[in-house]
């Protein structure tokens, strides 16, 4: 059974939601009001103009599970995805659940702790038709590297399992966005800790939070967050972790500065 909603289904869900709540905002223009919906177990806050630090704070300290802002990936598309997940959140953890509605490229590869990470990423880049050495490919390359490394090194280390199922790297690409997903079957991500480290980097600088001991350097989350439009996080304790980062592709460096970030916690 596929859990991937059709484009039409998502549009219907989004349209019904927006009409019902009188929130038919036009996402191509600036929307200046905010709203919060805690019905249907969705717990979403729509905002506009928050800084990267404020987004993290809203999730960490203000009981918000999903903070949505307009950006390169429009708020209505994000809302549609969230509301499509509301009836069955477990869909998010399925390997066939896709983030983008109409990806022109959709690739999935399995890997384990012994896989050569650089070769794995180079292979995905070839399938996406992107030159890995292009400067504009850096956000995608760095995001994939951090996510795969986490599943290869940190997740097994934090797990009681000595052997886990192969992890999965999924790359979806449409005309302007790339969604990169890694699912691992260790389920050891501490989402709060992950976000706290990003907060530390934003407040103190990366140099101050580097872990010089064993394990990760503690900078991976900051690198992923720095590049993303939206990050979606979910962890089923000791079963699965899914992290998806949606990144605008092939845009000028200065446009990255205008990204209004969103975070979704799907638990």
């Amino acid at each position: 059974m596929s859990f991937t909603l059709s484009h039409q289904a998502r549009e219907i869900i989004a349209h019904e939601y927006l009409i019902k709540n009188d929130l038919a905002f036009e996402c191509k223009t600036k929307h200046n009001s905010s709203f919060r919906d805690v019905s249907n177990g969705i717990n979403v806050l729509f905002e506009d103009g928050l800084t990267n630090e404020q987004v993290i704070e809203a999730i960490l300290y203000h009981d918000v599970a999903n903070l949505i802002q307009n950006s390169f990936w429009s708020a209505d598309a994000k809302m549609a995805l969230l509301y499509s997940l509301a009836p069955e959140k477990m869909s998010f953890y399925k390997e066939d659940f896709r983030i983008l509605v109409k990806p022109k490229v959709n690739q999935m590869v399995k890997f384990n702790a012994k896989s050569n990470r650089l070769e794995l990423i180079q292979d995905i880049f070839i399938k996406l038709g992107i030159n890995i050495k292009a400067t504009r490919a850096l956000p995608i390359q760095q995001t994939m590297d951090e996510l795969v490394m986490n599943a290869q090194i940190n997740a097994p280390k934090n797990s009681r399992l000595t052997y886990g199922r192969d992890s999965v790297l999924i790359a979806e690409m449409d005309e302007k966005l790339i969604a990169i997903t890694v699912i691992d079957y260790y389920g050891t991500m501490d989402i709060k800790k992950f976000l706290k480290r990003i907060e530390g980097c934003l407040k103190l600088g990366r140099a101050e939070v580097i872990n010089y001991g064993q394990g990760g350097a503690g900078l991976g989350g900051s690198i992923i967050y720095n590049h993303c439009d939206t990050i979606m996080l979910g962890c089923l304790g000791l079963r699965k972790t899914r992290v998806t980062s949606v990144i605008p592709y092939n845009i000028k460096e200065d446009k990255y500065d205008s990204i209004q970030k969103s975070i979704c916690i799907i638990n």
Partner: protein
């Protein structure tokens, strides 16, 4: 599985270390090959990326060679980004001699990486940077970095 490769080449009185691939946790395997010598050159021309563990291992490497005068050449954008973002990533005993500046043509959907060299394109107090350049066919390429952020490291 070393995704980061380091090779040493002796050049007259100095040693050049040529990095390639992705600077990551596998850089730890090479830290001991760096000798305590007065001067060395690090060539980053073939570096594709740096990840979070690579940032940490690079800082460890810089601490190990703190007694050497280090010239770093052909730095890709990913390296310059870290220099600008991570305090201590470029220690006092290391100098950037050349680095790449990316330019992009939206019409051709193609990129030019222009090498900026110390003394020619920049000094501590000066940078000669064009907002756009033209290739042999006449296509215009615009600078694809935020100058105020990207060149911040030059002034230290």
């Amino acid at each position: 599985m070393n995704t980061c490769q380091v090779k040493s080449v002796k050049n007259n009185d100095t040693v050049e270390f040529v990095f390639s691939g992705s600077i990551d946790e596998s850089l730890a395997n090479y830290i001991n090959i760096f000798p305590e010598i007065p001067t060395m050159t690090i060539n980053l021309d073939q570096v594709i990326s740096i990840n979070s563990t690579g940032i940490r291992e690079w800082i460890k490497l810089m601490n190990k060679v703190s007694g050497s005068e280090i010239k770093i050449i052909k730095c890709p954008k990913v390296f310059i980004d870290q220099v600008n973002m991570v305090k201590g990533f470029l220690p006092q005993n290391a100098q950037i001699e050349s680095f790449y500046v990316p330019y992009f043509s939206e019409t051709k959907n193609s990129e030019l990486k222009i090498l900026f060299e110390k003394g020619k394109n920049f000094t501590k107090s000066f940078i000669n940077c064009k907002e756009s350049v033209t290739d042999e066919a006449g296509a215009v390429y615009d600078i694809d970095v935020i100058s105020s952020k990207y060149f911040k490291f030059i002034k230290g």
